[in-house]
Symmetry: C2
DNA sequence: TGACAGCTTGTACAAATGTACGATATTATA
DNA sequence: TATAATATCGTACATTTGTACAAGCTGTCA
């Protein structure tokens, strides 16, 4: 079954969506609490973003008491694929090597990590 | 000297900026011709995007004949750093490993590439 | 059962984005 | 030097994004 093409996820929405994945099931509150301290946005804003994500089809909700409990409606794989693809196209013309290179050079990755990746790449 | 903080580059702008880097010096025409066939946008649109990039400080231009020749005013390194950083934060909470993993698993990378990357990571 | 605390919903709105038309200016060239 | 070709510039405009207030529901607990 082919996935219907969903509208793109905006940057701010992306962050919220990631938190929903991370929490698995989450109320607006939950998401707010999980927001990185750096990026505090109002409860109401989070609500709107969740609403929009639902409208776009990325999440659904169920009622628990008076609260909405949101959860993913699309596999994160799917979203990641699109996002990474678009990002790569825009910034690197679609070639993943420069990106990996950038990540490798900028320190947050060490040789050990890469060894593991090699395994993955091998058995794809 | 610390780089003044420039306004963010939008997705569409990012693509245009990349083409300017790639061409080194480019007129609106040049950029249009370099656009991937997939993504054909009007001459006028490219113009606007270039104008905006200039206003934001990412490129400058010089006049040659009646045409504007645009060129980078900021090191691509700088833009890439910001873009990758933001992207990583939004989609992966800042952790580069899942991204590399994704890239490694999705085929476009082979063990040989990774070997090279390991080198880079090693001597950072 | 009535009040409260906590939620959602409707609505708003400025700024950014994506896209482009039409008018004007400039350069070669006939 | 008039003209055709080609650029730019000003402007426009529908959408999307980011952010949020205020009004109205709804369980809950006294």
């Amino acid at each position: 079954m082919t996935q219907k093409k969903l509208p793109a996820v905006s940057p701010a929405e992306t962050e919220i969506l990631r938190l929903v994945w991370q929490l698995d099931k989450a109320t607006v509150q939950d998401v707010c609490n999980k927001l990185p301290a750096k990026r505090k946005i109002a409860y109401a804003t989070v609500q709107t973003l969740l609403r929009r994500l639902e409208k776009k089809g990325y999440i659904k909700h169920r009622i628990r008491g008076k609260a909405h409990v949101f959860f993913a409606a699309v596999k994160s794989e799917h979203v990641i694929k699109r996002s990474v693809g678009d990002f790569l196209d825009r910034l690197f013309g679609g070639d993943p090597i420069p990106l990996m290179q950038y990540l490798a050079e900028h320190g947050k990755i060490d040789a050990g990590d890469i060894e593991k990746l090699k395994q993955l790449a091998g058995k794809k």
